[in-house]
């Protein structure tokens, strides 16, 4: 009897493996996504901008948006960032990553500047502390200075409605 079970072992292994594959494909898992270790940890330093209780947010959650003028998806998400800043009254801090300051300013002048404060990170040192892998990436830091969200892509309407706005409003 146990001999029979032994012979079934290869088949059982295959089915387990296939199960994982099917799970992966059905769940729409993106193998290239690298996750984020920033969430639920205190926000890293942001040059001379203070975040957290006595910081720029004034006791309210703050968004930190890394962008660049040469980045196409940043162009796509700009209207949403502007909407957050202007219509929803969110405090958004912009960091121009690997961008010449005059090019970044010109880009913002053309499209509108939604940022309460604009920082420049030309050599990428600031971004490294935030675990950045490219642009655009957006972080939400709550009133206590803890990172609550980390998007490693351009944000979209769903993100806004389902996740960002609720957190912003809850924090007020």
């Amino acid at each position: 009897m146990s001999r029979r079970l032994l012979f079934l072992l290869p088949l059982a292994t295959l089915l387990t493996m296939a199960g994982f594959f099917a799970w992966s494909m059905v769940s729409g898992r993106d193998p290239a996504s690298i996750g984020s270790v920033m969430v639920n940890r205190p926000a890293p330093p942001l040059a001379d901008v203070t975040l957290g209780p006595s910081g720029l947010g004034g006791g309210k959650p703050v968004l930190v948006n890394f962008f660049a003028s040469w980045c196409a998806p940043c162009l796509a998400e700009h209207p949403l960032i502007s909407r957050l800043a202007e219509r929803e009254g969110a405090t958004v801090i912009g960091v121009a990553w690997k961008n010449k300051p005059d090019e970044a300013r010109a880009w913002l002048a053309r499209l509108g500047n939604p940022y309460r404060q604009l920082l420049f990170d030309q050599d990428g040192k600031l971004a490294l502390d935030w675990g950045l892998s490219g642009v655009p990436e957006t972080y939400l830091v709550d009133a206590r200075g803890i990172v609550r969200l980390h998007y490693r892509r351009a944000i979209n309407e769903h993100d806004l409605k389902d996740t960002i706005l609720p957190l912003l409003r809850a924090g007020q």
Binding site: I34, S36, V37, D129, G131, S133, G134
Partner: protein
């Protein structure tokens, strides 16, 4: 759909842009021992935007920044482990090409050796048991009749 697939392929191909080695002369440290340590550590850190390349091999911007950070930490006197932890604090275990040994990776590290030990012992036990020659299976009726036929009975 096809266009999308193509775009994905093109983008992924860009990320794979093979490096004719990625370390630039101006990144290298003056102290050869420190530089050697930097290279060794870089080979163990993953380029987080590439497909399976270390930061030593990748020409991506982020890889360049990480390489520079590694060298800065080494010059500040960090040990190899501290430099690795520095990266893990920012990018997670994903950044290590040598997966950490923790409860979540026990199966990974011990799976194959365990299989070897189990199979090996199993085979030895079976081998010992099979020393005795098994008794021949009893003849079926048809076979017995044939034997009698052949023996002329």
């Amino acid at each position: 759909m096809r266009r999308l697939a193509l775009l994905v392929l093109a983008l992924s191909a860009l990320a794979l842009a093979p490096s004719a080695q990625a370390v630039e002369p101006d990144e290298m440290l003056a102290d050869p021992a420190l530089e050697a340590r930097a290279r060794a550590i870089s080979r163990e850190l993953r380029c987080v935007v590439c497909q399976n390349q270390s930061i030593d091999d990748s020409q991506a911007e982020v890889a360049h920044d990480m390489r520079r950070a590694v060298r800065e930490r080494l010059e500040a006197g960090d040990s190899d482990a501290q430099v690795r932890n520095y990266m893990v604090a920012r990018y997670g275990d994903f950044a290590l090409l040598d997966p950490p040994f923790k409860p979540g990776t026990l199966v990974l590290w011990l799976g194959a050796p365990a299989l070897l030990v189990l199979a090996g012992t199993g085979l030895l036990i079976v081998g010992r048991r099979r020393r005795t020659v098994p008794a021949p299976a009893p003849l079926s009726d048809a076979e017995r009749r044939r034997v009698e036929d052949l023996l002329g009975r």
